[in-house]
């Protein structure tokens, strides 16, 4: 039923295909890349696309095709890890707030509101500026700023689910709070979580690119889509291939996650049929 409806959603399947290509690209990078992404070639720097360098070379003579392929690794790693961090903490915070209510709810959710009151990217920039550039700091910064959206979704679902009779029945059977939250309530709010997770992946890819573009993301010389763009921005007019190809990669990946996220929402949320 669920799979049939998902498989029939064409845009969703396009999105899924993009995601799969993205993942394969990241996993098989050493076999797909035609050059060493870090190898500097002073003679052939800023070369336009050719038979040997499909996407051209950058100002250090590094092959842009290979850098985009390897860049997908870092972009994917950062987006997946940061969304996992945000989901984990968001679920714990949201579930506690929703289930226990009262002052716990107030305290946790006002803290979430405080995080949300900053523009996400500004807050991430702030965290990066304090902690310094490294892949794991990017994961932490992005994970942190995305906690509230997960916390809010989970809290909302838990608030309605905890009034359900099956929760009351579980309580009447003498089952403990923690078991009730994890076994009886959370599995029933998986659908909105999966949707939010997929869509957040797209945002995380964009945010990682933005941070790297500002010089606050994954530190060079390791390629991420954001810092390839960042390196290339000075040559945008003279050597457009340096910016166009990583730009296209980001666009397609984000589009793919969004399409798939929308499809999941259409399939999982019965009210939107």
């Amino acid at each position: 039923m669920f799979w049939n409806r998902l498989l029939r959603n064409r845009m969703g399947m396009v999105g899924l295909a993009v995601i799969l290509v993205n993942v394969l690209m990241a996993v098989l990078a050493p076999w797909i890349a035609t050059h060493d992404p870090l190898k500097v070639d002073v003679v052939r720097r800023s070369a336009p696309p050719s038979q040997e360098f499909w996407f051209g070379t950058d100002d250090f003579g590094r092959d842009i095709f290979s850098r985009v392929i390897y860049g997908s690794r870092i972009s994917l790693e950062i987006s997946v890890l940061s969304v996992l961090v945000a989901t984990l903490l968001g679920v714990i915070i949201g579930a506690s707030a929703g289930y226990y209510g009262g002052w716990i709810d107030n305290l946790l959710m006002r803290f979430m509101d405080a995080i949300m009151s900053f523009p996400a990217i500004l807050l991430a920039i702030g965290i990066m500026a304090v902690r310094g550039g490294s892949i794991y700091n990017v994961v932490l910064a992005l994970g942190f700023v995305y906690i509230p959206r997960f916390a809010r979704i989970v809290r909302g679902s838990v608030l309605s689910l905890k009034e359900k009779e099956f929760v009351e029945a579980a309580l009447a059977m003498g089952i403990g709070d923690v078991t009730i939250i994890f076994r009886h309530i959370l599995p029933n709010c998986l659908a909105p979580l999966i949707i939010q997770g997929t869509i957040s992946l797209a945002y995380a890819i964009l945010a990682e690119a933005a941070l790297s573009f500002l010089g606050l993301g994954a530190p060079p010389p390791a390629p991420s889509w954001g810092n390839i763009l960042s390196d290339a921005r000075n040559f945008m007019l003279d050597a457009p291939w340096m910016t166009v190809f990583p730009g296209i990669a980001i666009t397609i990946a984000v589009l793919g996650y969004n399409l798939f996220g929308d499809a999941l929402r259409d399939v999982l949320d019965p009210r939107l049929k």
Binding site: G101, A169, G174, I175, P187
Partner: protein, 359 residues
């Protein structure tokens, strides 16, 4: 009745809801007791405190409700004095509950078997295989065909009657001493109701579980219960054995409830008779009338009724009523005397021809 035979007794239980508009006295001094294997019917209109009484016994009164005072004894142990983790061990194990809506009382995300096994393994240290065997055996006992197959199915694959049987299986799995059944068959159609209750009755007699049957369906009570408690605005207004209540109801409210049961043949000869209703509505628990809470709706209201709360009067063995009509003090001031004849006269006038479905 000897105290030894009592498995559960409530003494002057008060559960109030502290709302912004004021204090709602949902359960206001309920005293009742339950014998081993007994089925006790608790009846009354919606909002009279039946369900809250049930939830209070499990100490699961929802916010902003609180058990204010009273005692709940299970086998001589006051449940209200127990720490919360001990109370949790009692829920499901010694006292279980089944709810009105079988369609939503099972977790849609897990199989029937998972839910039964979880209930077992929370309370008993047994292996998965043992839990499985016991759960399947219980499904067989509630007469679910092909229990092994149903064990692996999800709630949405089962019909309403099947689900209520699963709920019964879960509630009896640990062989509790008391089962609270809150409108257990309201969501089911009449033929399934009979089947489900039949199974429930047979199993509880076999296991030795006493039932508190909370319902507004008097037919159900007449058929299954031994004793009945009639509640109105958080208080017990009348209690007695089923035949005493049905043949010899004393409280005007009980008599009203009995007259409000639709009977086949009431519209005989093409002349339909409007169904009797107790005039007025249940008063808000926030603004209860002074004196007897039923006086604004009572067809036999006396002067004293809106001034003082009526005393509890024992009219015959096991049968008592809280009403001024039967109080010696009131009758003495009116110059009339309570006689068997007087009471029977009122009853016979109003309940003529009410058939008892119990044989």
């Amino acid at each position: 009745m000897k105290d030894m035979d009592k498995v559960l007794s409530l003494k002057d239980l008060k559960t109030f809801f502290f709302t912004r508009e004021g204090v709602a006295k949902a359960v206001n001094g309920v005293t009742l007791s339950l014998d081993k294997k007994e089925i006790l019917g608790v009846v009354g209109e919606s909002g009279c405190g039946k369900s809250v009484t049930g939830l209070s016994i499990l100490r699961l009164v929802p916010h902003p409700g609180k058990i204010v005072s009273g005692e709940i004894f299970l086998d001589g142990q006051d449940l209200l004095q127990l720490p919360l983790d001990r109370m949790r061990q009692i829920r499901g194990d010694q006292i279980s509950m089944i709810f009105q809506e079988p369609m939503i009382s099972l977790n849609p995300a897990f199989t029937i078997g998972d839910q039964l096994m979880e209930a077992l393994r929370v309370h008993r240290r047994i292996s998965k295989a043992e839990a499985r065997d016991q759960a399947v055996e219980m499904l067989r006992m509630v007469e679910i065909p092909e229990p092994e197959r149903r064990f692996k199915e999800y709630p949405h694959q089962l019909s309403g009657g099947m689900r209520q049987r699963v709920m019964i299986a879960e509630a009896l799995l640990l062989r509790p001493k008391v089962m609270l059944a809150d409108e257990p068959t309201t969501a089911l159609d009449v033929t399934i109701q009979a089947q489900v209750l039949d199974i429930l009755y047979k199993l509880t007699q076999e296991i030795g579980t006493a039932i508190i049957l909370i319902t507004h369906n008097l037919g159900l009570v007449a058929e299954w219960a031994r004793r009945v408690v009639v509640m109105y605005t958080g208080k017990i207004v009348e209690e007695g054995r089923v035949e005493q209540i049905f043949e010899n109801a004393c409280h005007p409210y009980t008599r009203g409830l009995l007259r409000a049961v639709p009977l086949p043949g009431q519209s005989r000869g093409g002349q339909s008779q409007a169904l009797y209703e107790i005039k007025g509505i249940v008063p808000s628990l926030l603004h209860l009338p002074a004196g007897c809470a039923f006086h604004p709706r009572c067809p036999e209201k006396k002067d004293i009724c809106d001034r003082e709360e009526p005393p509890q009067v024992t009219v015959e063995e096991e049968h008592s009523v809280s009403c001024w009509l039967y109080s010696q003090r009131h009758l003495a001031t009116e110059g009339t005397e309570i006689t068997e004849a007087r009471r029977n006269k009122i009853i016979n006038e109003e309940n003529s021809g009410f058939p008892l479905s119990r044989e």
